[in-house]
Amino acid sequence: MTKLIDATCSRRTALKLALGGGVAFLVPWGLTSSALAADSPQSGGTMIFLVQPEPPSLALYASSSGPIEQIGTKIYEGLLEVDAKLQPAPGLASEYSIADDGLSATFKLRKGVKWHDGEPLTSADVQFSFMEVLKKLHPRASISLKNLVSVDTPDDATVVMKFSAATPYLARVLSGKDTPIVPKHLMAGKDLKNLDLANRPVGTGPYKFVEWRRGQFVLLEKNQDYWREGLPRPDRLVGRFIADAATRVAALENSEVHLAALGAIPAIEAKRLDALPYLNMSTEGYGSLSSISLLEFNTKVHPFDKKEVRQAVSHVIDREYIVQNIFQGFGTPAKSCLSSQFSAIGINPGDLPNYPRKQDLARAAELLDAAGLKPDASGIRAEVVHDIIPYGEEWRRLGEYIKQALEQVGIRVTLRYEDAATWTRRLYTEYDFQFSSTYHYHLIDPVLGAHRFFLSSSIKPGVPYVNVTRFSNEKVDKLLEQAMVELDREKRAGLYHEFQAIIADEMPSLHIHDMQFATVSNTVVMEHSTSGLGPYGPWYDLWIKAA
C-alpha cells in the first residue's frame, strides 16, 4: 500500500523511520517540529479519517448516505455553506437574496471558480444541478426543493430560482452536503444513473479526487486552484475503510488514523479514547441530523388509545437515566416532540407538561387510574408488548429498562425483538403493535424531518417512517401546513410552539432524548468542526499540527 501516513503524525511510522533510516534522521525531524509547533494554522501534511462503512459510490448528487457525504462534501460544494451556528453562509454564491414573498431567490456566483478539470463554473451548471440532477435523483433534495419550479440564468454569474410556494428553510438546504453543484459538461446528455463520475467525482471543492482503492481507501489531494486563497491546508486527505470495529479503535489509539466520525467508533469506546492524552472527542457537527429517540404508540389499540396512559408512560421513564446509562451520556433529555437543534430557528418552546425532569410514579398512577386502568389483585393494571427497533444494542437496553420501569406502576411488559424487515412490516404495514422504540432524523428543518410523523395525510399503510401512531388532529394539520410556508421567523415559531403544546398533551409519540454522536480525533487535527456540518463539512480550514 502507498505510504499514506505523514511521518510527523504517526509514532509508528516515526519509529520505522528511526529504525530504517538511522537515528540521524530523527534529530532534524525533532528540531523542525518543535520550531513549527505554533498555534497558527500550518499547511501541509496528510489527514487520515475513518469512513464507516465503505460507500457504494461517491455520487453525492444522488444519495444522502453518511459515508458518501463524508467524502463527497470535500469534493463538491453548494451555493451556500452552513456555519457553526447552523446559519447559512456564502459558498459558491458570494451573495444572495430571497424575495419577500419567498417565491424567488437570486444568487451571484463567485468569479474565477474552476472545476477540478479546469473548466469554469457557470450559472448553467447550477441550473443543470438543480433541475436535472438534484430534484430528480437526490432523496432529500427532491423533497426540500419540491416547490422549486425553475432556475433562470440571466448571465453566467447569476442564478434566479422560482418557487411555486414559499420555502422558509431554503437558505439552510443549499450546502454542499444537501445540494451539491455538479459539472454540467461532464453529465449533460448522459445516463445520470450510470456515470463514470459517480466513482470519479469532479467538483469545485477544496480537494480533488485521486484514487479509490476498494476495501482500503479513497485518496484526495489539495486543489491548488481552490478559490479560497491559500486553502485548503493539508496536502492530502485519505478516507480509510476498516471493516472491524475493534481494529478501527486500535487504529485511532495507534495514531494510524486522525479522525473517526459518526458510526466508526462505538459510543462507549469514544469515552474511553477521550481519556487518552492525544485523542479528543467532540459531539459537534451533527446538528443538521437533529436525531431524536422516542416511543411510538399505536393510538388505535388498548391501552395506548387513551392519552392518559401515554402521558403516564412519560412520567414513568427517567430520561436522564436513559441518557446516562443506556446512551453513555451522549445526548440530552427531550423537552418536546421536536429536536432541540431547532433552537437555531427559534422554535423550541419553554417547559411543556408531561416532560418531567424526574420519574414521577405517583402522577403516573393517578393518570392510569384516570384512564380506568385499575390494578387487579396482583397489582397488574395492563399487559403490553413492547417492540424493540432492531438497530443495535442500545435499543435492547432501552426496552429492558422500559420493561422494568413500567412494571413499577403495574404495567407488565413483554419484549419482542425481530429482524428489521419483520419489524418494519409489523409497524408500518400491519399496525400490529402496541408501542415501539425508534429514532427519527428531524434534519435541518421540521418540514423536512418532522412533519411526516404527525400529519394525518402521512398515515400511509405500507410506507415506512411516516405517521405510524395514526394520530390525527385537524388543528395540528393546519398548524403544520401554515408553518410549511410561513416566512416570518416569529410567526413561524408561534405556530410550532402551539403544535408542540398539543403533542405534549396528546402524546401520540413520546420523545426520549436528543441524540448526540461522537467524533474522535487526534490532537494534531485542528479546526475539524468549524462548520455546522462537522465531519460532513468541506474541511478547507482544517489543519494538521506538526507533532
Binding site: I268, N325, E393, R396, Q404, L415
Partner: protein, 276 residues
C-alpha cells in the same frame, strides 16, 4: 458387569469425577438460584457497572442489574435450552435414522439425502436464518437448535441399525412374527442406546454453546436471561468493565467443559472395548 463407583472411577478416571462434580454445581445453581435471587434477573437493583466485591458479589452490569442473579437465572435458561433442544434433536434423529436403517432401499436413500441437505448447510448460519425469520422466543430457540442438531444422530442410528439388522436376534424376532415397530423399538433400539447417550450428552454442550452464540448476536428471547445474552450485552464495556462478560463467559466455558468431560467419561464406561 456392574457400574459400581470404583469401576466408574477406574474407567472414567478423574475427568469423569471432575465433570460430574462441576455439572452438579451448575445444576444446583439453576435449582437453588431462584430461591436465593427471587424476582426478575432484569431488575435494576443498583448503580451501573459496580465492580465485583462491592455490595454485589459479582458486580452489576451496564444497567445496574445484579450479575450474580443473572448468572443463576442464566444457568436455568442455558441448561433448559441445552437439554430440551438435545432431547428433541435426539428423538428426531433417532426416528429418522432408525427408519432409514431398518427399511433400507428407497426410504433409506430418501431420508439420507434429506439428512445431507441439512448437513450441507452450515449449522450456525442456518440457525441465524431460522431465528431471523421467526421471532426469537425461547421455544423457537429450542426448535432451531434441534433442527440444526439432529442429522448426526440420524446418521449414527442408521449405521447402528444397518449392522444390527443382520444380527441373529433381529432375524429371530422377524422370524417369530413380531411387527416392525416392536422390532425397531423393543429389539434394536435398546442395543444402540449407548452411542446415542454418549452423543446426546456431548450435544448438550454444543447446544449450550449455540444458544450462547445466538444470544451474543442478539437472537435470543429478550425476556429470558441467559449467559450468552449477558456476554453479548456486556461486550461493549469489555475494556472498561471486564466482569460483565467475563463472569458469564467463564460459566459457559466451565459448563461446556463439564458436560464434555461427563460425555467422555460415559463413553469410556459404556464402550465395550474398554470393558473388562
Amino acid at each position: 458387569m456392574k457400574l459400581t463407583a470404583t469401576r466408574l472411577l477406574r474407567v472414567g478416571g478423574p475427568p469423569l469425577v471432575f465433570g460430574t462434580t462441576l455439572l452438579c454445581v451448575v445444576v444446583a445453581m439453576a435449582l437453588i438460584g431462584p430461591i436465593v435471587y427471587p424476582g426478575s434477573p432484569f431488575s435494576i437493583v443498583g448503580d451501573p457497572l459496580l465492580p465485583p466485591g462491592s455490595s454485589f458479589p459479582l458486580g452489576t452490569d451496564i444497567l445496574g442489574r445484579d450479575i450474580a442473579a443473572g448468572l443463576v437465572h442464566g444457568a436455568r435458561a442455558s441448561l433448559f435450552v441445552g437439554v430440551v433442544a438435545t432431547l428433541v434433536a435426539v428423538i428426531i434423529g433417532t426416528c429418522i435414522g432408525a427408519v432409514a436403517g431398518y427399511a433400507g432401499g428407497y426410504t433409506d436413500a430418501l431420508l439420507m439425502r434429506l439428512t445431507e441437505v441439512f448437513q450441507t448447510i452450515p449449522a450456525f448460519v442456518f440457525a441465524i436464518l431460522i431465528l431471523a425469520i421467526f421471532t426469537p422466543t425461547i421455544s423457537n430457540v429450542v426448535i432451531t437448535i434441534a433442527i440444526i442438531s439432529w442429522p448426526p444422530v440420524a446418521r449414527l442410528v442408521r449405521a447402528e441399525f444397518l449392522s444390527l439388522k443382520q444380527r441373529e436376534f433381529v432375524l429371530a424376532a422377524t422370524g417369530l412374527g413380531f411387527n416392525r415397530l416392536h422390532i425397531i423399538f423393543r429389539e434394536m433400539l435398546p442395543n444402540c442406546l449407548s452411542p446415542i447417550i454418549v452423543m446426546g450428552s456431548l450435544m448438550v454442550a454444543t447446544a449450550i454453546l449455540i444458544e450462547s452464540g445466538l444470544s451474543f448476536l442478539g437472537l435470543s428471547d429478550p425476556n429470558v436471561m441467559s449467559w450468552g445474552y449477558m456476554i453479548g450485552a456486556g461486550r461493549s464495556v469489555l475494556r472498561s468493565a471486564w466482569w460483565v462478560c467475563t463472569i458469564p463467559g467463564i460459566a459457559v466455558a466451565l459448563s461446556v467443559l463439564a458436560i464434555n468431560l461427563l460425555g467422555q467419561g460415559i463413553n469410556d464406561v459404556l464402550n465395550p472395548r474398554l470393558r473388562t
